[in-house]
């Protein structure tokens, strides 16, 4: 049987229990670890733990902590702070009769703000497998990241081991877990590599599970990330976040939801892009052959506004519960606005939506691109007041977007683009079955909605939206 006690001089409770520690030191095999002064307590031999290695490995959160070990050195029990009865029970001897019954302990130096990740980087370094790159004193860290090709064009946060360790506190998953292979180089993707790229992107640790779920969704075969990257089309991955986690991490689903200014929206979408770039090797004008790209290829991520909506959310439509948090990945172009400030009934507003949706890709393009219609609260209110469900709106739009083939064939309207002439007599849908998606987001004032058109290759020949639960 043996004991260890962890103390620091800068703690009134540790000062209080010095006589007890000295008594135990005399009676038992007790090892004393001091976090801040090897002369404390005075007059007894003390092990220097100012580097906090012992405190870290023993996961000490409070000083004093008294730990009891068996003869094999296995921990049997511990007490924290000073509670006379507990110390007496742990040691089986009368202790500290002249001391108060109870005094709370102080915070261990190993859990000071910023310290856990420093200690993890120092003492748990073997849990990370990535190559370490040495940046000289003469190099600027951010410039070094640019020079190595890690940036999307904007500055990145240099991924030090401390920052990566801090990022990994956002998940319980092990750093070496492989979650799939990233195109185009088909490189196995670990949680650790995702965390490093999340650091680059500027994520907080609490965003990491959303980034991991986004990468998992992007790597599903039906999402077709390789083709989406390599296409000459405009598209890139859009992340739509649903559920309580989107609110817990402060994502923006309201005013300017598709714009700048929210850290979670901005960095989660960016982290996904950096994973494709850095792990997969997918770079613009390399395998990424897009003619234009779109601004969302820096980052494209927002949350659906589920509060007080009359509609079920995108996640619920996909079969998840309201309490689940999910990401849905969509192969997305940029955003096209719809302005309708005069409609006050759902029939009129739906006709506006349909007219705007008709031009996705090309007015004659059908069953090629999917679409996300982002309906603002002021537009949604019109459907709410009329009692329209989301499915009612979809049915209406699909009806309005069933088009006479004669309008769509090559040459119609003096436009060479179009579908084969043999389809002239058919009634044809603008969107493939299931290709029209609706979410609610945006600011509370403004009778605008938004169209996020999809990649021209959808369904089995291209990309299908993929929803994953965030774990």
């Amino acid at each position: 049987m043996s004991y260890s006690v962890i103390v620091k001089e800068d703690c009134a409770t540790c000062q209080l229990v010095v006589p007890v520690i000295k008594q135990l030191k005399g009676d038992d095999e007790l090892t004393i670890y001091s976090q801040d002064n090897v002369q404390f307590p005075s007059g007894v031999s003390v092990i220097d733990d100012t580097q906090l290695e012992y405190s870290w490995h023993r996961r000490i959160e409070t000083v004093p902590t008294l730990i009891k070990f068996d003869d094999n050195g296995e921990e049997l029990a511990r007490v924290v702070g000073w509670e006379k009865s507990e110390w007496q029970a742990l040691t089986g001897r009368p202790l500290g009769f002249d001391l108060p019954d109870f005094r709370p302990g102080c915070g261990s130096k190993s859990v000071d703000p910023g310290m856990p990740e420093k200690l993890a980087a120092r003492f748990d370094r073997d849990k990370l497998q990535s190559r370490e790159l040495t940046i000289s004193m003469e190099e600027d860290d951010v410039e070094a990241c640019y020079d190595r090709g890690w940036s999307d064009g904007l500055p990145v946060v240099p991924p030090t081991a401390e920052r990566v360790m801090r990022m990994l506190t956002g998940t319980n998953r092990l750093p070496d877990e492989v979650i799939g292979v990233v195109p185009p180089d088909l490189v196995p993707c670990t949680i650790e590599k995702i965390a490093i790229n999340a650091v680059l992107a500027g994520c907080k640790p609490e965003y990491l599970p959303v980034v991991i779920a986004s990468v998992e969704a992007a790597l599903q075969d039906e999402f077709c990330m390789h083709g989406l990257l390599a296409t000459t089309y405009f598209s890139g991955p859009l992340v739509i976040v649903n559920g309580p986690l989107s609110r817990a991490i402060g994502m923006n689903s309201k005013g300017n939801a598709l714009g700048q200014g929210n850290r979670a929206n901005g960095t989660i979408g960016r982290a996904l892009q950096l994973v494709i770039r850095n792990i997969g090797g997918g770079k613009p004008r390399g395998v990424d052959r897009s003619v234009f790209g779109n601004p969302g290829k820096y980052t494209y991520c927002f949350a659906e506004d589920e509060t007080n909506s009359c509609w079920e959310s995108l996640a619920v439509e996909k079969g998840f519960s309201e309490t689940a948090s999910t990401v849905t990945l969509f192969a997305a172009d940029g955003m096209q606005g719809i302005v309708d400030q005069k409609s006050r009934d759902p029939e009129s507003l739906s006709r506006s939506f349909a007219a705007a949706l008709r031009v996705v890709g090309h007015p004659k393009m059908i069953m090629a691109a999917d679409v996300i219609l982002v309906v603002s609260p002021e537009h949604e209110r019109i459907y709410r007041l009329a009692g329209w469900t989301k499915q009612d709106l979809k049915n209406c739009l699909n009806r309005l977007l069933t088009i006479d083939g004669s309008e769509l064939i090559a040459g119609a309207g003096g436009i060479a683009e179009g579908i084969p002439e043999k389809l002239a007599g058919k009634k044809l849908p603008k969107f493939r079955e299931g290709g029209l998606n609706i979410v609610r987001a945006g600011g509370s004032a403004g009778m605008f909605s938004a169209i996020i058109a999809g990649w021209g290759a959808s369904g089995t020949i291209g990309s299908v939206p993929v929803t994953r639960e965030i774990k």
Binding site: L128, S130, R131, E132, L133, T134, I135, S136, M137, D141, A144, C145, D147, R148, W150, P158, P159, T160, A161, V164, D185, V187, K193, I196, N197, V199, L200, L274, N278, I279, G280, G281
Partner: protein, 91 residues
């Protein structure tokens, strides 16, 4: 000194590599940069003779002074106008 964790697939070498060199100079425009060291022009003149004899296009540039790095504008001009550049160091 800072240690950074590699965010990539680690397929590239640890140290940064120079840009790939051209296999040959055929059809290339060769920049000749005199850094304004004494007699640098003699070396550059001779190089230019040899390159022109091979049918290559050359362009001449001069740094204002060898004591300072080349002005950004000069670097940009050379990068825009040439495929490769030879910089002389003479005395």
């Amino acid at each position: 000194m800072t240690i950074l964790m590699d965010p990539t697939s680690e397929r590239a070498p640890e140290n940064r590599q120079p840009l790939p060199r051209p296999v040959d100079l055929e059809g290339k425009t060769v920049g000749l940069l005199d850094i304004s060291k004494p007699k640098g022009n003699i070396f550059i003149d001779r190089l230019e003779d040899l390159l022109v004899q091979k049918g290559l296009t050359t362009k001449r540039y001069i740094k204002p002074t060898f004591t300072r790095v080349a002005p950004v504008e000069l670097n940009q001009q050379i990068a825009a106008e040439c495929d490769v550049v030879i910089e002389s160091l003479a005395d």
